[in-house]
Symmetry: C2
Subunit: 411 residues, 2 copies
Amino acid sequence: MKNVIVGQSGGPTAVINSSLLGVYKTARDRGADIVYGMVHGVKGLLDGDIVNLSESLKNDIDMDLLKRTPSSFLGSCRYKLPDIDGNEKTYDKIFAKLEELEIYAFFYIGGNDSMDTIMRLTDYAKRIKSPVKFIGVPKTIDNDLAITDHTPGFGSAAKYIAATTKEIIRDGLVYDYPVVSVIEVMGRNAGWLTAATALAKGEDCEGVDLIYLPEVVFDVDKFIADVGVMLKQNRSVVIAVSEGVKVADGRYVCELAEHVDYVDAFGHKQLAGTARYLAGRVAANYGVKTRAIELSSLQRCASHIQARVDVTEAYNVGGAAVKAAFEGLSGQVITLKRVSDDPYMCITEPADVHLIANVEKKVPVEWITEDGTGVKPELTHYIFPLIQAEIAPLWVEGLPRHIKLGFTKTK
Amino acid sequence: MKNVIVGQSGGPTAVINSSLLGVYKTARDRGADIVYGMVHGVKGLLDGDIVNLSESLKNDIDMDLLKRTPSSFLGSCRYKLPDIDGNEKTYDKIFAKLEELEIYAFFYIGGNDSMDTIMRLTDYAKRIKSPVKFIGVPKTIDNDLAITDHTPGFGSAAKYIAATTKEIIRDGLVYDYPVVSVIEVMGRNAGWLTAATALAKGEDCEGVDLIYLPEVVFDVDKFIADVGVMLKQNRSVVIAVSEGVKVADGRYVCELAEHVDYVDAFGHKQLAGTARYLAGRVAANYGVKTRAIELSSLQRCASHIQARVDVTEAYNVGGAAVKAAFEGLSGQVITLKRVSDDPYMCITEPADVHLIANVEKKVPVEWITEDGTGVKPELTHYIFPLIQAEIAPLWVEGLPRHIKLGFTKTK
């Protein structure tokens, strides 16, 4: 009897469900009896909110839809396990639940915080001599996990961002007067996604003119000057800026706006966006038409543009997690290792979760141009293979078809 | 000797270049010698900025790329011809140019303002007894032209909006706490595009909870109450709101924000968006997490999601314009006439430009629910056939390939 359980945690990606499918199918293929899903991650496990995945994935079409469905099929949580010492009760509750369900292995698909969960559960299992295996399956559009060459989810987000940027660049050239477009891209601390806008440039596209990553201190005056130089050269200036850019004193650029839109019930400022603030400054300085475009949550949920490379890798890390567990490993995260650059080739490789949890991988400064307004070829070269190839949505009556979880609680 | 000239005007759509292709190919097929393109519309004609389209469209691949390229291939303008009386010089200059180029027919792809241009040129041609034919080719994502069943460009924008809305709805359900997402959709006066969010609902999607069109006076207090009701029923509430909603005193909702983000060099307020303002109000009232999502210019330039119905119709209105001119008609706009609802079938039909120019078609009030927070089945039934079928991008190295105009001026 081998039951396994899988959960999804943190922000979703366009391929997080491909990893779920990789876990599900591989576990079934390798003889697991029941593949349980935790609804809303480890929180669902604690609350007894658990589903039998076979009841939701009834046939091949369901599984193909799952690959193409945005958001986390099982629901997600931002719940972080507390320190073990002093909180043994929480851990005992989890392990009691796992024992009750006769769980052989526990898989968690997520980013940094989720790998922290795997690490703590592994450590506690060791302490209480539990035989349950714990394996982490990496995902995050932010691409900020250590050790792994890149994270599943990044490639599809990068493809969406680059494709959209191309469209915005064409659109910006439509009139014969100057327009400055500022595109705001996700990534609070790491600029990987913002860097993906550099891929727009090609035979058929002028590319973005200025790129600002959060790895470089942002200087508003320099920014205004940079835009001025570009406005002398081009009718349409397109700028990509990370939502996480900060000025020298550590404040986010969006915090510089004199006025906030609103203060909510908890006193949280509803900040104007970074792009909107910068577009306003440009308009005030140069008297040109500006546009602020926030790519917002579309970056993580636009599953109608998935990179097939990313879908396959997401599936593979899920499958490799099961393989590792069934071969007796625990406390591991399945990483991607680039074994060849040209042709691009990646394999999966387990790595100790203690080396990955809570470590943040930023864009290396040597991949950013000296003036801080662009990225070097090494960086686009690194991202390029990850956005390759396509997987078409299953179009039904004119729209991409998804699959949603029937929330049947089995426990 | 039959030369023709074509221009694009107003805001672009995802299929405005399919109409250009329809004009180009049909004109060539029907024996036109040179198909000229005005760069940046009639402004380009006045400035002598003209291209020979055959120099840009060299082969079948170029033409297939043109169909899939966002923005206006020839560039656009917001230039409106002045009244004829007192401005005869401007008109004489245009007609002299047309004579010099030996133009038989003049095609203008655009919305309301562009049809006004066709009307004035037709009237002036009549006055000076010029033999040049003037035909309007309708386009606008806003779908606000009279007489025609719908406008090319609307279907693809509606498909993009509905597909994106489905993704946002899935994404909104990812966590187990309440989230209110406010999606801001284009359309200053007509709510057609906002109504397209209603198409998201289906077997696999919960749909949007509240829809606010500009045809109905907006009441902020009622909005807050509407959201409160929905929050009692659903964990995730998704709201679609037109950028053009106005309160009873005529102000746009986005003008209600106490603080503006910035005042530009001309004293123009850089307004916080409607979605952001309303999300702020919801957060302040209910203390829930909110998200403001502006679909922004992506709605008009997301050519990676085109409705094939729309591409075909856009091509057809371009082709029918040439046919009409070559059969001797002038002062006409090519409209779409729905000859059957089920199965959906549309034919083209020329209509007198005087009946169309400067008339704005809004969503009929009887297609909006009485409480003003949704649309009736008649409206989704009307839009549904227009978003059908797909045309895949030409993916090259992981991104949709486009074509750009080499700005070779022939005059």
